[in-house]
């Protein structure tokens, strides 16, 4: 138990373990955040070092492959378009630089709005109880059963062209239910806990109890729920875009895939057209998944493994 009773090897091992003692410093979280930051950095540096004007139709030769490959017409790729061009001559690299952060933005914004609604409704429901609780609970339970894509397809076809923010708002209407339920459940159990009773004894206001005593303990859950929501929102957004809905004039990864499918990129073997956006989406989801797993370790100490 004391340092003196340990052998050198044991001490060294303990030191190595201690380095991972802070749950926030786990490799999964690092890698996940790294991947997502990579996409953001791509968007920023890309605008500086590459010409974003190249996203417009006809800025290059259509259907040009990346350098080192040939398309069906026998044209070889050049370094003018390092990732090739798509069907109407737009540069793939520029499309990604503009498109990938856009998809991430929609996901983050929708999730942020959804979480805010969720926190508000969850706390209200858990704290106020009674009739209010019934209404909020039934509402979120009903909403959770409705497939968002179905409703959104109808909405978006009615709206026609929408902005990214508008799309995020629409999606946010379908991602508030699970945080609401999660927070309500946590608030209900925390309300009975000793430290909340102690705070009441200390003459704390409801406001203080909610935000100073309860909320900090919810942080890991909130983060986890937030990331899960970002994933859902991106999936929904991309799903709509691939169906040809969503923003018509702003380049997004989903829309690029939609156009590739529409132009028959699959049978023409224009793999870079649909492949590169798909790869980026995959990177994004893997990043989000890793963050979620990492956060799981933070909120659930049992998952922390000792690497001996």
């Amino acid at each position: 138990m004391t340092d003196a009773s340990m052998t050198r090897a044991e001490r060294r091992r303990a030191r190595r373990i201690r380095r991972f003692d802070n749950p926030w410093l786990n490799p999964k979280l690092f890698w996940g955040i790294g991947l997502l930051l990579g996409i953001v950095v791509l968007g920023i540096l890309g605008r500086v070092f590459w010409d974003p004007e190249l996203v417009f139709v006809g800025s290059g030769i259509p259907k040009l492959p990346p350098p080192g490959f040939e398309n069906l017409r026998g044209q070889a790729g050049t370094f003018t378009n390092p990732l090739g061009t798509e069907g109407s001559g737009r540069d793939m690299l520029a499309l990604i630089i503009i498109g990938a952060p856009n998809s991430l933005f929609v996901g983050l914004l929708a999730s942020l709005i959804g979480m805010s609604i969720g926190i508000f409704l969850g706390f209200t429901s858990g704290f106020v109880g009674g009739r209010t609780d019934d209404v909020i609970r039934v509402l979120s339970d009903v909403m959770i059963t409705i497939p968002p894509l179905l409703i959104l397809v109808v909405f978006q076809s009615a709206f026609g062209d929408v902005s990214l923010t508008m799309m995020a708002l629409l999606i946010a209407g379908f991602v508030w239910q699970s945080p609401t339920r999660l927070i309500r459940a946590q608030v209900l159990s925390m309300k009975q806990s000793g430290y909340v009773q102690m705070a009441r004894l200390s003459g704390a206001s409801t406001w203080h109890i909610m935000f100073k005593e309860m909320l900090p303990n919810l942080v890991p859950y909130l983060f986890g729920s937030f990331i899960a929501n970002v994933t859902t929102s991106i999936v929904t957004a991309v799903g709509l875009e691939v169906l040809g809905l969503g923003p018509q004039r702003i380049p997004t990864l989903g829309r690029t895939i939609y156009e590739a499918i529409n132009a028959g990129a699959l049978i023409q073997n224009l793999w870079w057209w649909w492949g590169i956006p798909t790869l980026l989406l995959a990177v994004m989801f893997i990043g989000l998944l890793l963050i979620n797993l990492g956060l799981d370790e933070v909120s659930n100490p049992r998952l922390r493994k000792l690497k001996l």
């Binding site: 340092d3 340990m6 373990i17 009773q197 303990n217």
Partner: protein
């Protein structure tokens, strides 16, 4: 021949803070038909040793060296399948929380049958039924209990079902891990008598794990005292209790408060109590207060007046479900009464406005049962002390708060440098509970509700914490309502005792009368049920269990109250 032989057993837990030696060099044997008690504080390695016998150590624990031999089988050499077969059949385990050990969606008899079929293959249904009925009867439960679900049984019945499950395959060794820690004294006595009885019948060895010296003295033949994973003393119970060799054993024995025994409080009288009451107005008053939850009556109508002029400790004693915690939450204003009024200094708590309510909070504080839950894990422990101090407007400056916190810590015997600035999980239960007492001291309320303040703290620390609370009365003039199930401590600390049974006052008066010489049958039953660390005192026989149940039933209908005299400044009335 011995049922279990443990030789030089060491168990290690590699953790982030280095390797913890949970058990070191433990050697011990349990004879057939013998009862051996493992006693020690939490973390002393008693449960770990028992779990190692069944190869059920929690990850990442491992047996570093030594051997465990059950009969003639080397338990550590068994592979998983052989171990599975040995569990329950050769060695069975009765867990601490029987409430959570039964499957809530299976009938009791199905769970008993599961145990049999898992070891003997499919058995004839009539035969299964016969054996489960027999097992249930052996623990004093009627056979019809088999058809019930766990939620339909009381805590004591569930614990007895667990015992039935443990003995159904007549194992060589039974390990009972604090089987009664969640039960009140009356039920505890029934369960322990059942366990002893059935163990003697099948002739198995029994390892009883616990921390209560009184319970051990009444239940086991041999005692093994563990401290920090080391076996410090082992021998016949009588020899250990009457002539303990190790200082730690002596400490354990003396930590059991006895009714009428020597007080654990110093008689040294501190500064004379400060007069803090408002003359003419009672500090706390119950006017015909009752509380019902749905159609369950938690508290029957009662009235009392507590005068604040001379601080007093009023104890409220009873089993679980007697309504004592309901009284506490009524006094704290967490719950409105169903009928009647709760008044604090003449003001009704339920109808106070915000300013009055803050003043009320300033004057009425509490110490709760669970010191683990009372601190917000997000903050350092200072938060629990600093926040109310600021909130109530006592704080002049940060330095003033710091000074007051250090003063309060010192007053309850904590080193401020060691505890302040730590996170709650870095402190032990005893330290946390003392911090909560320090918090009460800092706020210096007129009334303190102490709801089972020591029931979750290790026995050796109980006396110290109670002494801290007692000091609040003497030195700081705080009136205290002490809610407890422990009659012995109530006897020592209180000025007046109220015994509650099913929400009704059974007996009330000064402790020397009520506990020292009880007149009401219920109080007598409670006192008889306390296990004493005195081998010559009888703790009843298995047949007392049924008698007790009948008595309790009758008493519940009678609703009789024995008034055993008054103390000045406290008037109690039942109506």
């Amino acid at each position: 021949m011995s049922a279990l032989t443990i030789t030089d057993l060491s168990i290690d837990f590699p953790t982030t803070k280095g390797v913890v030696h949970a058990v070191s060099d433990l050697s011990l044997s349990v004879g057939r038909g013998r009862r051996v008690g493992f006693i020690g504080e939490s973390g002393s390695g008693k449960t770990t040793t028992a779990l190692a016998v069944m190869q059920m150590l929690a990850e990442p624990g491992r047996v570093a060296k030594g051997s465990i031999v059950l009969g003639d089988t080397d338990m550590l050499a068994l592979n998983e399948e052989e171990m599975r077969k040995a569990r329950l059949r050769r060695v069975s385990y009765i867990p601490q929380g029987a409430m959570n050990s039964l499957n809530p969606i299976m009938r009791i008899e199905d769970q008993l049958w599961d145990g049999i079929t898992a070891h003997e293959g499919t058995t004839d249904r009539a035969e299964l039924k016969r054996r489960s009925d027999e097992a249930l009867e052996s623990v004093g439960l009627p056979a019809r209990v088999g058809r019930l679900y766990p939620h339909e049984l009381s805590g004591g019945m569930k614990q007895r079902v667990c015992i039935a499950l443990g003995v159904i395959l007549t194992p060589d060794l039974i390990i009972a891990d604090e089987p009664t820690s969640a039960l009140d004294v009356v039920t505890q006595r029934h369960v322990m008598q059942t366990l002893k009885d059935v163990q003697a019948k099948i002739g198995a060895g029994l390892i009883l794990i616990g921390h209560d010296m009184g319970l051990m003295a009444q239940s086991v033949d041999e005692l093994a005292v563990l401290k920090d994973g080391v076996l410090v003393e082992h021998g016949e119970t009588r020899q250990i209790i009457e002539n303990p060799q190790h200082p730690y054993t002596r400490e354990l024995i003396s930590s059991v408060p006895l009714v009428g025994g020597e007080s654990f409080l110093d008689d040294e009288i501190g500064a004379p109590p400060v007069n803090r009451g408002k003359p003419g107005v009672p500090l706390l008053e119950f006017k015909g207060v009752s509380k019902t939850y749905g159609n369950v009556t938690a508290l029957q109508p009662m009235s009392f007046k507590l005068d604040g002029e001379v601080p007093k400790i009023i104890s409220i004693v009873g089993q679980s479900g007697s309504g004592k915690s309901t009284m506490g939450s009524l006094m704290l204003g967490f719950n409105p009464p169903s009928t009647g009024q709760v008044l604090f200094e003449g003001q009704e708590i339920a109808s106070m406005n915000a300013a009055k309510s803050l003043e009320f909070r300033k004057q009425v504080q509490a110490v709760f049962q669970d010191p683990y839950a009372c601190f917000n894990p997000f903050y350092r422990v200072n938060h629990a002390l600093r926040f109310p101090f600021k909130q109530f407007g006592y704080a002049k400056s940060e330095a003033h708060i710091q000074e007051k916190m250090e003063e309060a810590c010192t007053a309850v015997g904590l080193d401020p440098a060691l505890v302040l600035g730590r996170y709650p999980h870095q402190l032990s239960g005893g330290q946390r509970q003392r911090l909560i007492v320090a918090r009460a001291l800092m706020l210096s309320p007129k009334l303190l509700i102490a709801d089972e303040p020591v029931s979750m703290v290790d026995a050796s620390l109980r006396a110290t914490i109670l002494k801290n609370i007692y000091d609040l009365k003497d030195r700081y003039g705080i009136s205290i309502l002490y809610i407890t199930h422990d009659l012995a401590t109530a006897y020592h600390v209180s000025d007046y005792v109220i015994v509650l049974y099913q929400g009704h006052v059974a007996e009330a008066g000064p402790p020397e009368e009520v506990i020292g010489n009880p007149k009401h049958e219920y109080t007598q039953l409670l006192i008889d049920s306390i296990p004493w660390p005195d081998l010559d005192r009888s703790w009843g026989t298995p047949s007392t269990a049924t008698e007790d149940a009948e008595r309790l039933d009758r008493l519940a209908r009678e609703n009789k109250t024995e008034f055993r005299g008054r103390v000045p400044g406290f008037d109690l009335d039942v109506a």
